[in-house]
Symmetry: C2
Subunit: 343 residues, 2 copies
């Protein structure tokens, strides 16, 4: 029962007219007589004719499809970005293909290649954590495929970029903790070869300096996942008696740290105030609800897609690149109310 989809040629044969007439009739070409148009359109409707997108794309070298390459779909931030991208994309007649690299460099290379092979009109990329080679990005340029980086941008490649102001976000969160009375704040940091790791750490230290607080390297612990926190639990607990605040590079790290401290008899936020980064839905589920900075994923996605369309449709000069920066906003909840008891 695997019936081949009907083609323009089929319609032409059945109706006893030429393929070109069918093609024109279907798109209301003025040359075609109303009678023929009527005939063709009605028939096409009846047999549920659908143009073959492959053939269309091959002919026009335009797929109306863009590729999205991201580390992990499951993170709230990335899925907000995807929603932003998709809403703009669909509105402008583009389809989006999502590829997740699972933070795997090899997969990133393969995914990009597959997108290029399938002649997508443009690509939106957020780099994997393990990417240190950039020739696969350079190849895109050589192939004439427009690219916009977002969030995890590649500094070595000149291109449009859309980012959250990680430095400022970290600074805001840290100043908030200081405002709540914290004097000795620990930072749970991401790897420093990642821009977000570097910028958030620098925002953190900048806030400390501004308020003339000591910036103790011992208080900077490298862990940026839930698992990493549990692996470093001993280090955190050893320092816990000295500190009164934690700023974590993301929400899951912040939440895991709260759990580690609570299991060791500390009360949050009474003994130690905590702030995270990202504002996913976890922040509300956490106990106590987590103070964090909101990253505006949806806006970032929209902006990235708009920039990409600018390049695809040639409304922007080819070598003219732009960087859009979104400043995060503090979302204050219970976890940062130093000294307060929570039920």
């Amino acid at each position: 029962m695997k019936s081949q989809p009907i083609t323009i040629k089929d319609i032409a044969r059945i109706l006893g007219i030429s393929p070109s007439t069918v093609s024109r009739a279907l798109k209301d070409h003025p040359d075609i007589s109303p009678k023929t148009k009527q005939l063709v359109q009605t028939f096409a409707e009846k047999v549920n004719y659908r143009p073959n997108a492959l053939a269309l794309s091959l002919r026009s070298s335009k797929t109306n499809t863009i590729g999205i390459v991201i580390p992990e779909i499951v993170h709230h931030f990335f899925s907000s970005v995807i929603s932003g991208i998709e809403d703009v994309a669909y509105g402008r007649g583009y389809n989006a293909i999502i590829c997740q690299t699972n933070e795997n460099y090899q997969r990133e290379v393969i995914d990009l290649q597959a997108l290029v092979d399938n002649r997508v009109d443009g690509i939106l990329v957020s780099m994997s954590k393990n990417t240190h080679e950039f020739t696969h990005f350079e190849n895109l340029r050589e192939n004439g495929v427009p690219v916009v980086f977002f969030d995890r941008i590649c500094e070595q490649i000149s291109s449009d970029r859309v980012i959250a102001d990680d430095f400022e976000g970290a600074r805001i969160a840290t100043k908030h903790l200081i405002g709540k009375g914290c004097k000795k704040i620990m930072h749970l940091a991401a790897p420093q070869h990642l821009l977000i790791g570097k910028n958030r750490k620098e925002g953190f230290t900048s806030a400390l300096k501004e308020h003339k607080l000591v910036s103790d390297d011992r208080y900077i612990i490298k862990c940026d996942t839930r698992e990493a926190v549990f692996a470093k639990a001993d280090d955190i607990i050893r320092l816990a008696p000295e500190i009164d605040g934690i700023f974590a590079v993301n929400d899951s790290t912040a939440i895991a740290a709260m759990q580690v401290l609570q299991r060791n008899g500390y009360s949050i936020p009474k003994d130690i105030a905590v702030a995270g980064f990202g504002d996913g839905p976890n922040a509300n589920i956490a106990y106590p609800p987590l103070t964090t900075v909101e990253q505006k994923g949806y806006d970032i996605g929209q902006a990235a897609m708009r920039l990409l369309i600018g390049h695809i449709e040639g409304t922007v000069e080819d070598e003219e690149f732009e960087t859009k920066i979104f400043t995060p906003e503090l979302v204050e909840r219970t976890s940062s109310q130093l000294g307060h008891n929570v039920r």
Copy 2:
């Protein structure tokens, strides 16, 4: 600088040979002389030749691409399923296009149409909550596109299916609560036109009956999202004094219910024991950690993709359908320890 990608024709012209020779040389055809092969392959490598997947697919009417249509990417269950699908797919030389419907029927129709237009080799679908018309699924069959439903299957369409045993999972969770001493258990239920809603409720009532507990309709509250729980908070609080357990249709609903109860002075699990369904990462983040049943998303994804490949590659009879069922497993945590205090 938008250089068109190089084609076989280009190579042929430059090397002064015919396109067919180039094509054959590139795929090690035995007819071609080693010298020519060497020449062509080296050159192709040098200019970074890549076949145009569009042209390939058009010619072979085989795209080596499958479509995934799911309600929401962000849910842990669905992203596990995607990982399972992708791992099998890549291993067998298929690419996957992910479409999220956002539980929107119209979007589901559009996404499926786009996939068919792009001639994917097969489609994996988990239905949107708001889908009550099924002609768009029937059209797939008419177009000869193999489909496998998973999790949110469509009863009205005969096809391969991969599901979690929701009835049994709900029964296991409910019996667990009963075993912990619960006598009056509330159920937070999903809409009954959804199979998962129906099956989980029936698993719940079946466990009650088995243990000769009363099944009170007042204890069945319709809410299956975090927001819905807050909307029904008054109803839940009104009944809270009577009950000693809650079985929720999913984890976020269970967690929201715990929060509502806690904010109203109830202690979990001392006063009321709670169990959820799904075992996403939230279950660990919740306070107290949530007892729930694990849905085996990764396995379901793998199984669904394997079934789909069977149909695509014709190793399975066309009208021969299979249903694979995965039984969830209980993951016992703190939220269900009725009578116990948690710090």
